[in-house]
């Protein structure tokens, strides 16, 4: 997979090989910046926005990327890091858009990738979604944001709270007011947040209703084998917070059973020392929505698998067609109802169509992408949903050897499958009493049944 990268000849003209001279004083002078330029490219390969933090790099640099994109079967298969004679291209694919950054010298690739994702998240935060239309509609704001987020190729302000102080996100109301009054959405006053000791929280926050909501969302990642045995299963959790509190509240969130948490990562606001010593989350929250922590549940605890799928997918030896019979049923649901159950199967290429009957929900088969989706909805333990029928194959095609695997999506409300429970939330530093709330949801993450 690196073969093609190696084939590209190494840049020789733009800089001298540093290794050629061991004299440190004579290190070559190289262009110094991390991210030089950014190109936004849509699904069909059009560059619809470019931003250069230093001198302009021609669009032709993207040709190397387009070449790689041609080669890749799926957009996800485009290598994130490409080498061209004079530059390195690091790209991410999010929301059907490519964010392609150009760098000229050594830089940690994850640094760039992580930054690009941060850009996407900022756009989502500002405009609700990150799509070509939205970016084009808000091109000036986007430009302003990019200008603030990166200085000379090095990240400057990436905290959404600070950015929002400098560049206010557009809202429908303000857009209307602006069009009527001819004013704009830029901040008249200068931001102060940049200089506060807490970079993630702006000062002077005020709410009439003070509220703090926490969503504990757990996802089950599992691979279940053909025979129904669980090959591997783990629980990944994340606590999403929506905190709208006046002033500078200092919050403490504690769990009933923090021992469950095996590996954690925190928003920078969380005081790590407190966590290490007392296993409580102590933090001054950012304003608004943010991810407080994500965690991994100790794998020694057996993971409850909420559903099972009995499956029988077979193709006739003659190669003329096949049969499909699927039944889904509850396994360990802790007495809760499984909702939003969706089964997705990527069929072999030879499968042309499917004529099936579902006892519950509806199914669709897309012959172009070869994806069968069975949307079941709520799982009724009394009457197990079943999908059966025949598959038609391309005429003359041999019997497919590969077996499709089944991907499951589901949702269980009011349950954290690991058993994690929030004990209490305390607030210090402010006088008022906030509304507090905790919600638990369990979802299927990468839940796959092999056939």
């Amino acid at each position: 997979m690196n073969g093609q990268l190696k084939k590209c000849h190494i840049a020789t003209t733009s800089f001298i090989d540093p290794c050629s001279s061991h004299n440190l004083d004579s290190l070559p002078i190289v262009a110094v910046e991390m991210i030089h330029s950014l190109f936004l490219i849509n699904h069909s390969g059009d560059i619809f926005l470019e931003k250069h933090w230093k001198s302009v790099i021609g669009r032709s640099v993207c040709d190397y990327f387009f070449e790689a994109k041609e080669k890749a079967a799926e957009p996800e298969d485009v290598p994130p890091v490409l080498q061209t004679p004079h530059h390195y291209l690091i790209s991410i694919y999010r929301d059907r858009l490519f964010f392609l950054s150009v760098i000229q010298t050594e830089a940690p690739p994850l640094f760039v990738i992580e930054f690009l994702h941060r850009v996407v998240e900022t756009f989502q935060d500002y405009f609700g979604e990150c799509s070509e239309t939205v970016i084009k509609d808000n091109v000036v704001t986007v430009y302003e944001l990019l200008e603030e987020m990166l200085d000379n190729g090095f990240p400057l302000a990436t905290e959404s709270n600070i950015l929002k102080e400098m560049i206010r996100p557009p809202t429908i109301l303000r857009t209307m007011v602006n069009t009527l009054t001819g004013t704009s959405n830029f901040e008249e006053r200068l931001p102060s947040g940049q200089l506060s000791a807490i970079p993630w929280r702006r000062s002077g926050v005020k709410y009439t209703n003070n509220e703090a909501y926490f969503d504990v969302i757990e996802e089950i990642d599992a691979i279940v084998d053909k025979s129904g045995t669980t090959l591997c299963a783990e629980i990944q959790g994340v606590i999403e917070a929506c905190v709208k509190l006046t002033g500078m509240p200092d919050l403490t969130l504690s769990f009933m059973n923090p021992r469950l948490l095996d590996d954690v990562s925190f928003h920078p606001c969380v005081r790590f020392k407190r966590w290490e010593a007392e296993r409580v989350l102590s933090f001054i929250p950012p304003d608004g929505n943010f991810t407080l922590m994500s965690y991994h549940v100790n794998t020694q605890n057996l993971v409850a698998i909420p559903v099972y799928v009995k499956q029988n997918i077979s193709f006739f030896e003659s190669g003329s067609g096949g049969r499909l019979d699927l039944t889904a049923g509850p396994k360990q649901t802790m007495g809760k109802t499984v909702e939003g159950l969706v089964i997705t199967i990527h069929m072999p290429k030879a499968v042309l169509g499917a004529s099936l009957t579902a006892t519950q929900g509806s199914y669709t088969y897309d012959p172009a992408t070869k994806v069968l989706v069975w949307d079941i909805g709520r799982l009724n333990p009394q009457k197990l949903p079943n999908l059966r029928g025949s598959l038609s194959l391309q005429a003359g095609a041999p019997k497919p050897e590969d077996n499709p695997s089944i991907n499951i999506a589901l949702k269980i409300q009011q349950l954290a499958i690991s058993g994690l429970k929030v004990n209490r939330l305390d607030m210090y530093g402010e006088k008022y009493k906030p509304f507090k709330g905790v919600k638990y949801v369990t979802k299927a993450g990468k839940f796959q049944v092999r056939t």
Binding site: Y93, E114, S203, M248, R271, K273, E276
Partner: protein, 1127 residues
């Protein structure tokens, strides 16, 4: 143009904010499309005087830039708006300027003055943004301006501006690498900065400008380690990467002993890879073994590992990766394991993150397999993973394979082979092959499995299997002649060239095992020769040659035929090979000696190929780097150095009496008090709510008070630092420091008297030193600095004697003490509670014993003495008193007795730093009420100040009884100009207009530097910044003492010690040649350097040189000093 209008059409005319609608403007449509008048409407809008129109135009222009359209023809129209008051327009103009300045250099220069003005703005954000834009304009002509701006910003009081300065350094460097030396100085200065905001950016600048200057890091190493957790995430990445390199040069390999011990012990899969090295290393190791002593990790090495570990919990994948690579490269083997969990966590992230992490994990698994073994299942492959992720996971799984888990892994592999993704299947087959070569137990199982795959319907799968089988068979061919036979049959079906070639090679190589089939295969191949791919043709020739040598009877003719065909092949490689083989194997009369050896040559035993991971040995690149990912050295990659053989001196990191840093750190320390790091507040301080802003004008007296006490305990800190402890002390609360001091005192177990005495002697000792530095002994003009020196002893003795008293009580008691009382504690308290009181105090301040005091007592260790030397040197900067002229300060009249109706006001420049704001000049004002009635509520009000000037008034004097006088101190920021500050002096009944006019010499504060520094700085202030005058010194003014006295009287400068001896203790060793006197200072507001040199000559006129960044100040100062010297 059409594109841009098309763009707006595309949006369907939605009324968006960002994008203006061209369609609604009837005029624009027509003009817009015609090329010769393009952008005319925009120009018009930009020229209008309505901000809204300008904004609209700028938005459209920015939208065009975003789409990559050329709008450079608008430059003149846009650049005019750079001074626009509207901040939104300004922002967009900046965006435009940065984009096009390089192309339109001449016009861009028009905007420079705006930014220069912005650099002086009182608002830190404006200063920062001016610097940002100024440094982003890539025009070589402005390099000196940029340099100046960066230097100034680097000593700005706002950390945000300093951060911007750090950002600007690489920009300037890339524009003009000649500036490197100067930039390194700025970097050095900023590295000493203690704010987390600056740390990341300056290390980034360091990495890009002077990564080889590792020596600059020594002194800052511990600070960086301790700050790390509070630095913003992007800075953390850069710092960690830099510290990894640093540690590799400064510490010993923690695994050295283990490596030696485990020789022959546990060997990894790829244990063989160490073999070659081993021989070379043998001697080295023996040597090492012989002189090996138990390895003790350097505490600094440990500090780094300890302080980076929490960052594994960061939400930022780049930070986690940076820590992981640090541990991989630096940690003892036993500890590296901690990173595995965090890296596995990252596998849940976006696929690009997975891609990079897996690459690094793959490299790590080769060296440290055990680390990831518990997480084997996390690398299981899902059908929904992108192919590149699948392949990488496969790589990791293969690396993790061992005797114990191979069966599980092979079962997984079996599922993968059924995948729809054929590239992935091919990779799986290769992986099976690798497992088979490395784990002997499963070799047969794997081989059988692969042979089964030969009947797979997919040709790619079969081909890949053939290739892998060939490699496996090479390891033990004798056992597997049946497989070879089976494969021989496949030649009829398999069309993939690589597979065909592999089969042919196998048959040729092992033709002895399949004597019957081999000639038959050759026969078939000879038939199809012309239609084969080149790679197959070459193998046919090889096969023919081998058969000819072993079985010439059956194959002689066939071989001839094949060689003849090859002779006329289109490919020269094949023709070449045919000719070569023919010469080698077919005996002719004139054939050389070689043909005798043909059999040996061609049928030599070939070593089995080692199936290796492509990630083997990748770890010579620093993990997590771009170079590692690409497996080629990327431009600008910094090689990870090898561990040193012998530990470099660890003491270089000791932060001794921070000589120069300390003097400049006073401000910074204040900041630090304010900006408490977030994480380290577990001690229960209330840091986070404070904002860095408070450090500016409004620095409260309590803050300065605590600062005082901080410096008061300098001495204790010193010893602290000496004993290798971190600088954490400094961050602790003032109380704690006091306690520290208390403790230390009790530990000393000396009679209180003695301690006190020693302390005072220490300070007197300092006094002596200081006095030596500056000739005129200061007496009555007491100094805040000497207070400081008193603080520590007084405070400690006080608390010592009243040990039982609570802190509060002490304070209360101190407060009660009348301010005039000469007791020392009051000094401190007075300062703490009410700064101005302390400033008033100094008239009554009982100075330390005179220089004639008894020499240092025996109980003072010599080290302490040297410390104090350092201290005294340090403090010179802050003690203008030591340099101020011995005579009383020159007073100026502010209000005459008659005009003031009995109130007489005089002012003088006290030459002390004005504590509430270091950018102000302290003005001491004396009120004398000579009227018969008392004067009430005396205060100053701002009247008409020049722009930029600021005044910090003194607190109102409520009552001034008749015949009494009072002294107050106020601060004025003159903005480095000699313009008078016009003020209103108010009493309860009257208002007087008064003005304070500073002589130019009072606009500066002394700055301590060594002769070398002085010369270096001077070298940078040549040309326009240098003014030289010749002068004839009068008779009485010839000696050194007189010169120093006169110069320092005229300007608030400090003497630069001459010669190499730091203290310049006495003029005893007269410098060779005619004496040169140097004085240095900085302007109060902007901190620009003022350097004065008086070179006397034995005969002829002397020469006065002034180097100053501010030319106006320079010229004025020349006049003043000339006057002072010649009078």
């Amino acid at each position: 143009m059409s594109a841009s209008s098309a763009f707006s059409d595309e949006k369907g005319g939605s009324s968006s904010v960002g994008e203006p609608e061209y369609g609604h403007d009837p005029a624009s449509g027509g003009i817009f499309s015609s090329d010769y008048k393009r952008h005319d409407d925009l120009k018009e809008m930009l020229d209008s005087n309505k901000d809204s129109l300008k904004l609209e135009a700028m938005k459209r222009i920015v939208a065009m830039i975003a789409r990559g359209k050329n709008t450079s023809d608008l430059f003149p129209a846009v650049v005019k708006n750079v001074a626009c008051k509207n901040i939104e327009v300004k922002k967009l103009v900046y965006v435009y300027l940065v984009r096009y300045a390089e192309e339109q250099q001449d016009l861009a220069l028009l905007s420079i003055s705006t930014f220069q003005r912005g650099l002086k703005d009182p608002n830190q954000l404006i200063r920062a943004s001016a610097l940002r834009v100024l440094s982003s304009i890539r025009v070589t002509i402005i390099v000196p301006i940029m340099m100046l701006a960066i230097k100034e910003a680097a000593s700005d009081m706002s950390p945000y501006v300093r951060k911007t300065a750090a950002h600007a350094i690489p920009k300037l460097y890339s524009l003009d690498p000649e500036q490197k030396d100067q930039l390194i100085e700025v970097i050095e200065k900023l590295l000493a900065d203690k704010t987390t905001l600056v740390a990341g950016s300056v290390v980034m600048a360091f990495e890009e400008v002077c990564p080889e200057r590792i020596d600059l890091i020594h002194k800052n190493y511990r600070k960086l380690c301790n700050l790390l957790v509070d630095v913003e995430e992007w800075g953390q990445v850069v710092i960690i990467n830099m510290l990894t390199r640093y540690a590799r040069t400064q510490f010993l390999n923690p695994n050295l002993n283990e490596c030696l011990l485990e020789e022959g012990g546990e060997s990894t899969f790829y244990g063989s890879d160490a073999d070659q090295d081993e021989d070379e290393d043998e001697d080295k190791k023996d040597e090492a073994l012989s002189k090996r002593k138990p390895y003790v990790m350097d505490p600094d090495h440990r500090l780094l590992l300890r302080n980076t570990k929490p960052l594994l919990q960061s939400r930022n994948a780049a930070v986690v990766m940076a820590v992981a690579q640090l541990y991989f490269h630096l940690a003892p083997k036993a500890e590296v394991g901690v990173i595995a969990k965090a890296l596995v966590r990252l596998l849940r992230s976006h696929s690009e993150v997975q891609y990079v992490v897996l690459q690094n994990v793959a490299t790590m698994t080769i060296k440290r397999r055990g680390m990831f073994e518990p997480y084997l299942k996390s690398f299981y492959i899902r059908s929904t993973d992108p192919t590149q992720i699948k392949v990488l996971k496969l790589e990791v799984l293969t690396n993790l394979a061992s005797e114990t888990n191979i069966s599980t892994i092979l079962r997984e592999f079996q599922t993968y082979i059924k995948s729809m993704d054929k590239d992935f299947v091919a990779a799986t087959i290769q992986a099976i092959g690798r497992c088979a070569t490395h784990i002997g137990e499963v070799r047969d199982t794997c081989l059988n499995g692969l042979v089964q795959l030969l009947s797979n319907r997919d040709e790619l799968v079969v081909a890949e299997s053939v290739v892998v089988i060939k490699k496996l068979l090479q390891m033990q061919p004798e056992k597997h002649s049946d497989i070879i036979k089976h494969m021989a049959k496949l030649t009829d079906n398999i069309q993939v060239p690589m597979a065909r070639a592999s089969i042919l090679w196998l048959i040729g190589e092992y033709c002895e095992h399949v004597p019957k089939i081999a000639p038959d295969v050759l026969r078939k191949m000879a038939k199809t020769f012309t239609n084969e791919e080149d790679i197959v043709k070459l193998q046919i020739i090889n096969l023919a040659a081998k058969l000819y040598l072993t079985n010439s009877k059956q194959t002689k003719l066939l071989t001839q035929y094949v060689l003849n065909l090859a002779k006329y092949d289109q490919n020269y490689d094949i023709r070449d090979r045919a000719r070569f083989i023919r010469q080698l194997i077919v005996p002719t009369d004139k054939c050389g000696a070689l043909s005798k050896y043909a059999k040996k040559l061609i049928l030599a035993l070939k070593p089995a190929p080692i199936l290796e991971s492509p990630f083997k040995d990748r770890d010579h690149f620093q993990l997590g780097s771009l170079s590692h990912l690409l497996n080629t050295k990327a431009g600008g990659y910094q090689e990870l150095p090898d561990w040193p053989q012998d530990a470099p001196d660890p003491s270089v990191r000791n932060v001794e009496v921070p000589e120069w840093t300390k003097c400049s750190s006073r401000e910074k320390r204040k900041e630090k008090k304010v900006e408490k790091p977030f994480y380290s507040d577990s001690e229960g301080e209330s840091g986070p709510t404070e904002s860095a802003d408070s450090e500016s004008d409004s620095a409260s007296s309590s803050a300065s008070g605590s600062e005082q006490s901080g410096s008061g305990s300098e001495e204790s800190e010193e010893s602290e630092e000496r004993s290798d402890s971190d600088e954490e002390e400094e961050e602790e609360e003032e109380e704690e420091e006091e306690e520290e001091a208390k403790k230390r005192k009790t530990q000393k177990k000396e009679p209180i008297e003695a301690v006190q005495q020693s302390e005072s002697e220490q300070s007197s000792e300092e006094e002596v030193k200081k006095r030596k530095v500056s000739k005129p002994p200061p007496r009555n003009v007491s100094e805040s600095e000497s207070d400081d020196d008193e603080d520590s002893p007084s405070d400690s003795s006080q608390s010592e004697s009243e040990d039982s008293e609570s802190e509060a009580e002490v304070k209360k008691k101190k407060k009660i003490t009348p301010p005039k009382a000469p007791t020392k504690p009051v000094k401190k308290e007075g300062k703490k509670e009410k700064k101005e009181m302390s400033l008033l105090d100094f008239d009554d301040f009982e100075p330390t014993p005179s220089p004639q005091v008894t020499p240092v007592g025996n109980f003072l260790s010599s080290s302490l003495v040297t410390d104090l030397e350092g201290l005294s040197l340090t403090d010179t900067v802050l003690s203008p008193a030591t340099i101020s002229p011995s005579g009383s300060l020159k007073s100026y009249e502010l209000l005459h007795r008659i005009t003031g109706e009995g109130l007489w006001v005089e002012y003088c420049f006290s030459r002390q730093p004005f504590l509430p704001d270091p950018h102000m000049v302290a003005v001491q004002i004396q009120f004398t009420n000579s009227a018969a009635t008392e004067a009430k509520s005396l205060r100053l009000e701002e009247a008409k100040l020049q722009s930029g000037m600021r005044v910090k008034e003194f607190p109102e004097i409520e009552v001034l009884p008749a015949g009494e006088s009072a002294t107050v101190v106020m601060g004025v920021d003159f903005c480095d100009s000699t313009q008078a500050a016009n003020l209103q002096l108010c009493t309860h009944s009257r208002k007087f207009f008064v003005s304070i006019q500073p002589p130019v010499g009072e606009l500066m504060t002394p700055s301590f530097m060594t002769e070398n520094e002085f010369k270096k700085e001077q070298g940078q202030l040549m040309g326009m910044n240098e003014i030289t005058e010749k002068l004839q010194l009068p008779e009485r003014c010839q000696n050194e003492h007189a010169i120093v006295q006169r110069v320092t009287a005229a300007a608030n400068l400090s003497r630069v010690p001459c010669g190499s001896d730091k203290e310049c203790s006495s003029p005893a060793p007269p410098p060779p040649g005619p004496p040169v006197h140097r004085f240095a200072g900085r302007t109060v507001t902007s901190g620009s350097l003022v350097l004065v040199t008086v070179a006397t000559k034995e005969s002829g006129p002397s020469q006065l040189t002034i180097n100053c960044e501010k030319m106006v100040i320079g010229t004025m100062l020349v006049k003043d000093i000339l006057l002072a010297l010649t009078q």
